[in-house]
């Protein structure tokens, strides 16, 4: 089992979700984060005072998958989120040791999907 963390552009959320759904990946957790990356932040000015920002709004997806869904998931995210420009985002893959579904008590692979 793998735990995928993907950082994408906010505009791409709906497309990424749609693409994942097509690949039978329906479950995920979404949150708003701020990215500090190669894409530079935008300077803000308040009453003449400049504040150079380093952070830009991004969306973070967390998706736990069984191993056979890892590649489809990565492909789906890449397909939907990639524009080829700086700022598109990244995917991180971590190993997942255990997964428990609270409502049923199922564990492991069956609990993920």
């Amino acid at each position: 089992m793998k735990y995928i963390v993907a950082i994408i552009q906010p505009e791409k959320l709906e497309e990424v979700q749609a693409e994942l759904f097509k690949n039978e990946i329906h479950l995920m957790t979404v949150s708003q984060v701020l990215g500090c990356g190669r894409q530079k932040g935008i300077t803000q000015i308040y009453r003449g005072r400049k504040e150079s920002g380093t952070l830009l709004k991004k969306i973070k997806l967390e998706i736990a998958v069984n191993d056979q869904f890892l590649k489809p998931a990565i492909d789906a995210i890449t397909k939907a989120a990639k524009t080829g420009n700086i700022g598109d985002g990244k995917i991180f893959v971590l190993d997942l040791e255990e997964c428990i579904r609270l409502s049923t008590g199922e564990t492991g692979g069956p609990a993920i999907g």
Binding site: E11, E14, L34, I42, Q44, I45
Partner: protein, 440 residues
Amino acid sequence: MLGRVLTIILGAAFFLLAGLGTPALAADASTVNSGDTSFVLMSAALVLLMTVALAFFYGGLVRRKNVLSIMMQCLFAMGLISIQWVLFGYSLSFGPDKGGIIGGLEWVGLRGVGQAPNPDYAATIPHTAFMIFQCMFAMITPARIIGAFAERMKFSAFCIFLILWATLVYDPVCHWVWGVGGFIRKMGALDFAGGTVVHINAGIAALVAAVMLGKRTGYPERAMPPHNLPFTLLGAGCLWFGWFGFNAGSALAANGIAVSAFVATNTAAAAAALMWAGIEWVHGGKPTMLGMATGAVAGLVAITPAAGFVGPVSAILIGLSVSMICYFFVAFVKVKFGYDDSLDAFGVHGIGGLWGALVTGLLATKLINPAGADGLFFGNARQFGIQIAGCAITIGYSLVMTFVILKAVDLLVGIRASASDEMVGLDLTQHNESGYTLLD
């Protein structure tokens, strides 16, 4: 740099001071009625608040990244039009008539507009009180258009558009309908508080702008839910509040007509709000807060031209009907034709204003306002024809001129923000600031 600007401005100012700054002597107090003056000044203050309210009504509906751009445009309209009006807008609109088409430049810089009443417009209040009350109308009219091009117009383009539209569209139409000698006024068209001048005029401009700017990126596929509906209610609530100044204040005196307009305004807003909620309940499943707020505004728009000419029962009728019509435009016609009137400036203001102007020709009655006229349902079919003519002329003129102005501005600086600016949001890209902090 700053020094140079300072010098130029001070120089210009003193020139103006010498040239224009001889204000009229204090009024002969005997003709000024303190109750009426109090009423019109407070009404003017209420109408000013409406532009702020509009900033929240619209601002709550856009995405978080564009909230300041809306507010900035409203604020800029408050600033620019206030100055334009004092310098020459008022003179063009209400100054001595030139062939029924435009006011003359005699009142430029408010020369000759003093504390004494001008009985042509309002006999019991200082002329300047009438002037500043009208200033607030001139300010909010172009602000209404903002809803059509929200989230994608370049700010520089907006500024140029604003001054041109105010001068070339608002001022002439205002003169035609309300100026002494204006040709639509002479036709006998009724427009109590601005259905034609304000709502149709701005609504048509909104449609033209929406079409010319094109859709927002991602519209209509991508969800763009309102980022802060309480702000939208705040706006709607303050609009309702301010609209009493707009409509009742248009009586220009604290008299029975003012009260009548006040009652009609409240009643129509209420009826329209209920109706919108009712339609949603029947049609969409659930009545929504945004729906009621939208309905209330539609009702306020529609009652505007009729306010001083109709009784409360007619006001209910106007309120009920306008919500049906506007809902139809917003939920069906817009979808069908696919233009992106982002915040429904055309669908609510344009259509609501048009319906209001027409219905005035049906329901107006001299029983309420002897200085008005009877409408079709009170036996005077001619009035309905006049109203149609007035609307048609305004629509045609606003349509053509808005098109021409936007084309010109587009050639000059480009009207549409770049795709990447639109993606990042206009607040950061046009104004280098953001509405809310993210990590605080």
